[in-house]
């Protein structure tokens, strides 16, 4: 099935001056799919800020790179990539999610980096337990096997995702900035050889890019299963380690190279981009491709999306050594059937992309025409959502606290993430769940740390996509600040509905607007990202608009991160940041049936609050800190009390506050009693106490009992 439109088909025929071959049709189908070409979204993505002093490499290659810091005179960069694997995960949850991790890991690997962490942002429906389980097991099984810790993530459950889950994945890598490998052939690259490395090409994943650019129709789900790729984390484990060895060899011999993941569009997609982006063409011999089954049609070999493959472009003199490393030293042919590294073509000066198969030329197009620009100027409409502003009556804290803590968006995620390896590599400082952001030490022997958090609240997304996008940036930033890191950059994945429906496309456009606003105001650039459209149900409704944002933070001294849980009785508990009493989009609003107004976003206030917290952490007066997020300030304090209890410390909290469930943002900090007086813009909400209790407006709760309430709900789904 080819999904090119009539006008696209005639444009191709016109440019070629002939009818396209079957291989060309499939190649253009992949290259011009929304998934690969960003044809309807690109004009808006240009509005995102992508530059800054920390940006080593902005969007455009397989991953972005941010400057982390310097150790022993070497500058280190953090490579970050962010993608969705939504449609595959709906159809075959385990494999769909696993290949999501597999793909994002290759995007980071191919920059010459060592992969150090993954993260997952999951949006599930409320009635598809098999999907919610399959996705988590897929994410876990892949990351666990390749030995990359899961550092951060979040999960929300909304009926709007019943028929279209969102599986967003992030990966981090570390690389010396002097040793980055790019995804395009550099100058003087004509005559280089193109080496395909990885699993034998098979018929799996044929039509994947095109499939991801369609509305998922339940009736076609069975048919589309063939478009989902098959994950092989065991093979990937070996492939990654072999590639690290290749990196070392290239560095030692100072040999330039280009390296790129085979994702959407398979061999054609990858080999055309790696050459075209350097201004070259390529000649590829499909007969040289190692295949898993005989008799595959050339279009399947050419654009099929078999997993665990990458492409190198290399100067010919180094090729034998690289093949030796993959095939002999790391024995790829013994690790998976017919897997290997093999030369499949060469880089040509002339910018034409040619495929040969059994002596015939089956594809011959201008490189730029294939990999270059297709545009869809789709119309969009702006939707102004209804905004009521119900008054918030005083709430009954004693009645609400257990309900808030047990809410599906607030309760403990541990049953889910304990299926993920959080600590492989032995570099984890704050594991997932221990704090608002995960922290690890990426450079052995160095005090440098990197923090990672994701955010994107679909309860806001249901109300106002632009607002939700802004909040996603703000919250991801806060989370990184709360552990003591300096936020240095962002990635985004925009998960929206059908761009051919103006009102749904309007949400997407509004969300980019929101991201740009927040990014500019907070001076945090986007260095990579991804767009996933056509996320809608069988009756044509879009999923809750989901701009999911990841924030990377830099830490100079991992010994200074804020550790989990309340520390000592008789400290002050402070709320730092915006404190509007609104219920719009909050868990409280949902529980009370209030359609309240959304808290205003005040960027000056956000910067100031983050600055106060960062300074207090730097002065080492912050004993504990959490962001105010789902479930509000009291939830944040309860979680600090839980962590204290789990660490065996008998510390609780006592506070008086009219409505402690509002989710207006900011931070709660435990600070030494004498050390907070000179902090401006803070509100003292209570104190820590020497009992393992929470005392709120005179009502007393045992921390252990609240912990039971909070930790139970997801254990049924993830036993």
């Amino acid at each position: 099935m080819v999904n090119l439109r009539d006008d696209e088909l005639s444009r191709i025929a016109q440019r070629l001056n002939r009818e396209p071959t079957l291989v060309e049709l499939h190649a253009f189908d992949a290259a011009w799919s929304e998934h690969c070409s960003y044809k309807s979204s690109r004009r808006f993505l240009r509005g995102l800020p992508t530059t800054g002093s920390r940006v080593v490499l902005g969007p455009g290659e397989d991953a972005g790179i941010l400057h982390l810091g310097t150790h022993e005179g070497e500058r280190y960069g953090i490579v970050v990539a962010h993608e969705s694997h939504n449609h595959p995960s709906q159809v075959v949850p385990f494999e769909g999610a696993a290949t999501g991790i597999g793909g994002i890991v290759r995007d980071v690997l191919c920059m010459g980096a060592e992969v150090i962490a993954v993260a997952d942002a999951l949006r599930f429906g409320t009635d598809r337990d098999n999907i919610a389980r399959g996705v988590v097991d897929g994410v876990g099984s892949y990351g666990n096997a390749i030995g990359v810790p899961n550092l951060a993530g979040d999960v929300y459950f909304e009926t709007g995702f019943d028929e279209n889950v969102l599986v967003n994945v992030v990966a981090l890598g570390v690389v010396k900035e002097s040793e980055i490998i790019h995804s395009y052939v550099p100058k003087d690259g004509a005559g280089w050889q193109i080496v395909l490395v990885g699993k034998a090409t098979d018929p799996s994943g044929f039509g994947g890019a095109s499939f991801s650019s369609l509305t998922l129709d339940a009736r076609d789900a069975e048919l589309n299963k063939g478009a989902v790729q098959v994950p092989d984390p065991f093979f990937k484990n070996v492939l990654m380690r072999a590639s690290y060895r290749v990196f070392a060899t290239l560095r030692e011999l100072r040999i330039p190279a280009a390296f790129k993941d085979l994702g959407a569009g398979g061999i054609v997609g990858c080999s055309s981009e790696i050459t075209a982006h350097g201004g070259y063409g390529a000649t590829i011999d499909l007969d040289a491709v190692n295949v898993a089954v005989d008799g595959m049609p050339p279009e399947v070999i050419a654009v099929g999306e078999t997993q665990e493959r990458l492409i190198w472009a290399l100067p010919p003199e180094i090729v034998p050594e690289i093949l030796r490393i993959y095939n002999d030293e790391f024995t790829l042919p013994e690790v998976a059937y017919n897997a290997c590294a093999t030369v499949i073509g060469k880089v040509t000066e002339a910018p034409r992309y040619m495929l040969r198969y059994r002596g015939n030329v089956v594809m011959d197009v201008e490189s730029n025409f294939l990999a270059g620009s297709v545009y869809d100027e789709l119309p969009y409409t702006e939707t102004i959502r209804h905004q009521s502003a119900d008054d918030l009556a005083a709430v009954d804290v004693a009645e609400l606290l257990p309900r808030v803590l047990a809410h599906r968006d607030v309760c403990s995620r541990e049953p889910l993430y304990r299926r993920y390896d959080a600590v492989v590599r032995g570099a984890t400082v704050l594991a997932r769940g221990a704090a608002d952001a995960g922290v690890l030490a990426p450079v052995p022997g160095s005090l440098l740390g990197v923090a990672l958090a994701v955010a994107g609240n679909p309860r806001y997304g249901k109300i106002d996509a632009k607002y939700a996008a802004q909040q996603a940036v703000v919250e991801a930033m806060r989370r990184v600040v709360a552990v003591g890191a300096r936020p240095i950059g962002l990635t985004d994945c925009l998960n929206f509905g059908n761009p051919r429906k103006p009102e749904q496309f309007g949400e997407f456009v509004a969300a980019i607007d929101g991201l740009a606003l927040a990014s500019t105001a907070l001076d945090l650039p986007f260095v990579s990202g991804n767009v996933s459209l056509y996320n809608e149900t069988s009756v044509g409704e879009a999923v809750p608009g989901s701009a999911i944002v990841a924030c990377v933070g830099a830490i100079e001294d991992i010994g200074r991160v804020v550790t989990p849980g309340l520390k000592t009785p008789a400290s002050a508990l402070l709320w730092i940041g915006s404190r509007e009493l609104t219920a719009g989009g909050s868990v409280l609003g949902e529980l009370l049936g209030i359609d309240g107004s959304l808290p205003a976003i005040d960027y000056d206030g956000e910067r100031a609050a983050a600055g106060i917290v960062a300074e207090a952490i730097a002065r080492r007066v912050v004993r504990a800190c959490r962001v105010v997020s789902d479930g509000g300030m009291l939830t944040a304090i309860a979680r600090l009390a839980f962590d204290a209890m789990l660490a065996g410390r008998c510390v609780g909290a006592e506070l008086d506050f009219g409505n402690p469930f509002c989710e207006t943002g900011g931070f709660v900090c435990e600070i030494e009693e004498t050390s907070w007086i000179d902090l401006t813009g803070v509100l003292r909400v209570g104190s820590t106490i020497a009992q393992s209790d929470l005392v709120v407006n005179g009502s007393r709760f045992g921390v252990a009992e609240l912990y039971r309430v909070w930790s139970q709900p997801l254990q049924e789904l993830y036993p």
Binding site: Y420, V423, A441
Partner: protein, 254 residues
């Protein structure tokens, strides 16, 4: 010349980097030995088998690796009394190789670390393992105090000790139960066990006391920065916590 420690890497191993680094930082002369160099394993004096999923955990975790030629050298060394420590997948391999508990014959296992219970899922959880044998019973633990409690991370889907009742009796009778899961204060109860393991077993030792197989990873809680709340001294990069077991391993070689 100091004793040379090999950290063998099988296809699918994933914890080799942190294992070799921590061994070195604990004073060990350790190096990775890749599967393509398995024939050089005879040149080493001690072995630490790291975690991962060797050969994709096909059949049973560790079952294929136990028959790998790399294990020929490890088995030969173990029989001759050289020190061998297996962690997680490394432990599974040692059981499959029949070295631990060692109550049967080689490559005819009498016990296995198998599918977790009661829920058969991967579990990643911070744990403590308590030394249940006299420290000198096992060369690797000889410099630990009696009843030592070692912090570590359990991270496995197949860590439940299982064997026939007869073989389980042999494990107890032969004093093979080296480590059990415990709480930080050394209390032992079911809540401390992450995987339904028989006897709450976290580690087994062979009869001679030179081969130790442990399921949890001490190297993942092996530096001050992995447990800032329990920081020992000023240097956050320094080995501490679970590194105590690696130190003991290195000391046993000197």
């Amino acid at each position: 010349m100091s004793a040379r420690i090999a950290v063998p890497v099988f296809p699918g191993t994933n914890s080799e980097g942190e294992t070799v680094r921590l061994l070195r930082d604990c004073g060990g002369d350790a190096e990775l030995v890749h599967w393509s160099r398995a024939d050089t394993l005879h040149n080493y004096d001690a072995f630490v088998l790291p975690g991962g999923f060797a050969y994709e955990d096909r059949v049973r975790a560790g079952a294929i690796a136990a028959h790998d030629r790399a294990m020929d050298a490890v088995i030969e060394a173990a029989v001759r009394g050289k020190l061998v420590l297996g962690i997680c997948n490394g432990a599974q391999i040692l059981l499959e190789a029949g070295l631990v508990p060692g109550t049967g014959s080689l490559r005819r296992p009498t016990a296995a670390f198998t599918r977790n219970g009661p829920v058969p899922h991967f579990v990643c959880r911070h744990v403590y393992m308590k030394l249940r044998i006299a420290p000198a019973r096992c060369a690797v633990t000889a410099s630990l105090p009696e009843g030592a409690v070692v912090p570590a991370w359990a991270a496995h889907a197949e860590g439940r000790l299982a064997a026939t009742p007869e073989h389980l009796r042999e494990i107890l009778g032969g004093d093979h139960l080296a480590f059990v899961y415990a709480h930080a204060d050394g209390r032992v109860d079911e809540a401390a066990v992450p995987n339904g393991s028989a006897f709450g077993c976290a580690g087994l030792v062979n009869r001679m006391g030179n081969v130790l197989a442990i399921m949890p990873h001490p190297e993942r809680d092996g530096r001050n920065f992995t447990h800032l709340d329990r920081c020992e001294g000023e240097n956050v990069l320094a080995p501490s916590g679970g590194a105590v077991l690696f130190r003991s391993f290195v000391e046993a070689l000197s």
